[in-house]
């Protein structure tokens, strides 16, 4: 289980070494998310159209170690973009990864960029 978590570490925009071409913009529902596979990782990717922003984080919910976050509802808590896990509604900041309604460990977040209709995810390896 720990090994699963170790596979996900936050990547800062400044440390990106690989931009992975994940999918087309229209593959992700507006104001919703879907899951991207990159090597042995599952990344939840969200098109937060209301904010005009894209977010990416690990698909793994640290609560019960299920690969489900991409199926959660997104929204904001006092302005902070967040996702609610579909299993037990634990919420996580999409900006910092912090668990907003509990003290689970933070989730890893990843940089996203959009170029010519494609979505790219940033990884440091």
């Amino acid at each position: 289980m720990e090994a699963l978590l170790d596979n996900y570490n936050t990547v800062a925009a400044t440390t990106v070494r690989t931009w992975f071409k994940a999918c087309k913009v229209e593959d992700i529902p507006k104001n919703g998310g879907a899951c991207i596979k990159y090597q042995d990782k599952q990344i939840a990717l969200f098109n937060f159209a209301r904010k005009g922003k894209w977010y990416a984080c690990q698909n793994l919910c640290p609560h019960k170690m299920e690969m489900v976050l991409s199926r959660g509802m997104i929204g904001d808590q006092e302005g902070m973009a967040k996702v609610a896990c579909p299993m037990h509604k634990k919420t996580f900041s999409l900006e910092t990864g912090e668990n907003l309604n509990g003290d689970l460990q933070p989730i890893a977040t990843y940089p996203v960029k959009i170029e010519e209709g494609f979505v790219y995810l940033g990884f440091s390896e």
Binding site: P29, G32, A34, I36, R50, K51, K64, T91
Partner: protein, 839 residues
């Protein structure tokens, strides 16, 4: 700088620290705390919650950082072994010496283990620390893997023993409570209330053995049973001892502190022990020759010790200590306060008992009938807080004191005034000693403006939580008295209740979620308002969950219930529970083809579990081909209308329950509502369909159907109440249309019909007026709305499988057709199940 050493970092030791550092003079002191548990103090009162979440952090009273931030040195995992009172120093297990100016002993107690031969055997536990619970859980798991029907006994039928009984039940073992006395909770209950409680516990599956003295624990290495007398034994695989507590007073012997004959350090009302500058507080302190096994007196002692050390000699312990208690957690209300049972020469008792509902209430009043002296409540302790306050504050009783327990209920009235009638000095939160005045003032002086603020600022309701309803009332009433409107808004994005939103959306003709946010809301929404609005849109425009998929609750978005491991379940509708052999065969074939776990549900249908997201459309395509439809098992919508076999076959049947159940289920299928809706139809009063356990229930009687509404099973079972009797099929449908639509329009999100009715002013009588007599002149409107929804019904799975855009949603990854490699199944009784969660 003076040094205060605290020995023991339990609940009371912690409270001492908290109270100490909140005082200004504390800056002149150095505070060092020793605890011999491996972690900082935690909430022992809520220890049983650890069984549910195994989250030690959630129980922490304060994180380790808190101590550092407040200048407290916390030394965990270190036992204090000696006190040298002459030199004013202590020694710890690692041999180090620590000098003190003041020493506070808060070493608490340990469970008392009676000297029964065999108690040392494997599988015998006590119930006090997180480590104890971990041991029990591991052992119970072992038992569960070895045999199907493991049993565990609890020695002691007191407050704690019953809590342990519930824990055993939750661990999947059969609980047996063994009590020496002839009644349960011998210290709090009289014989009759104990008998009522026993019935209730037995109905929950907890076995009770009274008047049993245990002679011996049986078994080789591990326990296999208990022996009461030669031919009286009980086979058990595990034992939890909960037979009282013994103070942890070993340290007393090292410095000659005065102790009681059954242990504990003798203290005076200043919490001083027999040695100068040594104080004792909490469950170690013997005050008035008693050990108080509750936190509230311990917290008061902590306050006294803090004030004494910091120089305020006037704060002392009251001579009498309130030992009122309310049992928590175990799914049955039990409370006792004041003098629970009393000799007739001191006062008189008023008793109420209803064994069919497992309730018993007793209040003791003075001979002149003017004051409340104490009482016992079993089965329904809703009024405990207010009765307790009346007792504590010596408030005058109403002329008909019996109304306090039998109530002017039902008509929505109550024999009590509101909590606002209490004097300001009334203690509302006894765990934290917070008075009514403190709570109301925090609102009136403008420093707080919500329940949350008040809890944060005053700490009220942070202990056992029993006072929450009263604090809420006080907060709301105080806000109202300042002219502030108190309303239930659905979340931070909409300043409206669900009912208001329904009206606004309908009037303004708002059709999308974003439009609602932009015109009447703020921010970007959340997991509370999205599904609530989706439900409102569904009622007004008859949208299925396929419209605006991203605002649907997660299960609705995928038209299936998510399971452990992220797979889904498939529940086709089987109206009334009636199914042809051919359709049964199809279900079997589909389950086989997609390797699904199958189970008959509690709602008379068949659930196919373990479907991967990617397979859902194909599975449904095959089911739809033979005429199945979505069962909406995932939705806040109509689930099932359960039916008994009825007059077509049953020798007692008065009418065709199956036909009518199918008709009702077909009518209301797809109807989305604030919470799920269930119905039932029974062919006679024997009630095999459990119709009165449903949101609406119909029972055939002589001359027609009786219609009941607002019942449910679940955590707080409620029987549905009679709305109309001896009516024909058409009238049932007419009333149901009105009732359901009125509920759907006015209830708050996730409030089921029973809870909704409880809040409806005037209760069932008012509902009868609205539905039967049409007092609000809404009937036509409600019926028309319902008919419109019925006419527009569409199966959302049918929509989904034929629409390639919607089908795309059902793929675990968007950038590959690969499956989720994290899903794992293991075998169970020739089927599959998810790999169990380990954290």
């Amino acid at each position: 700088m003076k040094r205060v050493l605290v020995v023991g970092n339990g609940m009371v030791g912690y409270k001492f620290c908290e109270k100490f550092v909140s005082q200004q003079q504390a800056d002149d002191f150095e505070l060092v705390v020793f605890g011999d548990e491996p972690r900082p103090a935690y909430d022992r009162v809520h220890l049983s919650e650890y069984f549910e979440n195994q989250d030690a952090k959630a129980l922490e009273l304060a994180p380790a950082d808190w101590y550092a931030e407040n200048g407290i040195r916390l030394i965990c995992d270190q036992r204090v072994t000696d006190i040298d009172a002459a030199q004013k120093q202590i020694r710890t297990a690692n041999g180090r010496l620590h000098p003190y100016d003041y020493l506070v002993l808060a070493t608490g107690s340990v469970p008392f283990v009676p000297p029964i031969p065999g108690v040392e055997k494997k599988g015998v536990f006590v119930y006090r620390t997180i480590e104890d619970l971990e041991g029990m859980m591991a052992y119970a798991k072992e038992i569960n893997t070895k045999k199907p029907n493991g049993k565990a006994a609890i020695l002691g039928g007191g407050l704690l023993g019953l809590e342990a009984g519930k824990a055993v039940l939750d661990m999947g073992l059969e609980p047996h409570v063994v009590e020496f006395a002839p009644k349960l909770m011998p210290r709090q209950l009289d014989a009759r209330s104990s008998a009522v409680l026993q019935l209730k516990l037995e109905s929950m599956g907890i076995h009770i053995h009274l008047s049993k003295a245990t002679n011996k624990i049986l078994g080789e290495n591990a326990i296999t049973g208990m022996e009461f007398s030669e031919d009286d034994t009980l086979d058990v695989d595990m034992l939890i001892i909960s037979a009282g507590i013994r103070p942890r007073d070993e340290l007393g012997n090292t410095c000659g502190l005065e102790m009681g004959t059954r242990g504990g350090f003798v203290v005076n009302d200043k919490m001083e022990t027999s040695e100068p500058d040594i104080y004792a507080i909490g469950e170690i302190a013997l005050y008035n020759q008693l050990i108080y096994g509750l936190v509230a007196p311990g917290y008061d002692m902590a306050e006294v010790a803090v004030q004494q050390i910091l120089g305020d000699a006037t704060t002392v312990m009251p001579a009498e200590i309130d030992m009122s208690t309310k049992l928590k957690l175990i799914g049955v209300d039990v409370a006792s306060f004041g003098t629970p049972y009393m000799p007739a020469d001191k006062g008189l008792s008023i008793l109420f008992e209803n064994k069919t509902k497992f309730t018993y209430k007793r209040i003791n009043v003075s001979h002149d009938g003017k004051t409340l002296l104490g009482g016992i409540l079993v089965g329904d302790a809703d009024d405990y807080n207010i009765l307790h306050q009346m007792y504590l504050n010596g408030m005058p009783l109403p002329d008909n004191a019996e109304e306090l327990i039998v109530g002017a209920r039902g008509e929505g009235g109550s024999a009590f005034g509101s909590a606002m009638a209490l004097p300001d000095s009334a203690q509302i939160c006894s765990c934290e000693s917070i008075s009514k005045g403190t709570i109301c003032d925090s609102i009136l002086d403008g420093s707080c403006s919500s329940f949350k603020d008040v809890v944060h600022a005053t700490k009220a309701a942070t202990g056992c939580g029993g006072c929450k309803p009263m604090v809420t009332d006080l907060v709301n009433e105080s806000l109202k008295s300042m002219g502030k409107e108190v309303k239930e808004v659905i979340c931070e994005h909409f300043d409206y209740s669900r009912q208001e939103l329904y009206g606004i959306i309908k009037v303004k003709g708002i059709t999308t979620y974003d439009e609602a946010l932009d015109t009447i809301g703020k921010g970007d929404g959340c997991e509370l308002c999205k599904p609530a609005l989706a439900s409102i849109f569904a009622t007004i425009y008859n949208d299925t969950a396929n419209k605006e998929a991203v605002i649907q609750d997660s299960n609705d978005r995928f038209l299936a219930n998510i399971q452990r491991n992220g797979s889904y379940s498939v529940v086709p509708r089987i109206p009334g529970g009636e199914i042809t052999p051919d359709r049964l065969i199809v279900l079997g074939e589909v389950a086989k083809k997609y390797n699904l776990y199958t189970k008959i549900t509690g709602g008379q249908r068949i659930d196919l579990f373990g479907a991967e997201l990617n397979d859902l459309p194909a599975i449904w395509e095959e089911l739809i081909a033979v005429g199945f439809e979505s069962g909406h098992a995932y939705g806040k919508s109509l689930r099932t209308v359960k039916s008994c076999v009825g007059s077509t076959w049953c020798r007692y049947g008065m009418d065709e329950s199956v036909s009518f159940a199918i008709a009702l289920e077909e009518r209301y299928k797809g109807l989305r509502s604030p919470h799920k809706l269930k119905g039932g139809v029974s062919g006679c009063i024997r009630e095999c369909a459990e119709a009165r356990g449903k949101d609406f229930g119909v029972i055939a009687v002589e001359g027609g159907w009786n219609l009941y509404v607002c019942g449910n099973g679940g955590a707080t079972p409620k029987h549905a109440q009679l709305l109309a009797s001896q009516i024909d099929n058409e009238t049932v449908i007419k009333y149901l249309d009105r009732f359901l639509m009125y509920y759907i329009r006015t209830a708050a999100p996730l409030v089921r019909t029973a809870a909704w009715l409880e809040k409806l002013e005037g209760g069932i009588e008012q509902l009868k007026k609205i539905v039967v007599e049409d007092s609000l002149q809404l009937a036509q409107d409600l019926e028309a709305d319902m008919q419109d929804l019925v006419n527009k019904y569409e199966c959302e799975w049918k929509q989904a499988v034929v629409n390639p855009e919607i089908r795309k949603r059902f793929s675990h990854f968007v950038n590959t057709d690969e499956r989720d490699d994290n899903i794992a199944f293991v075998d169970l009784r020739e089927q599959k199940m998810p790999e169990p969660w380990i954290n």
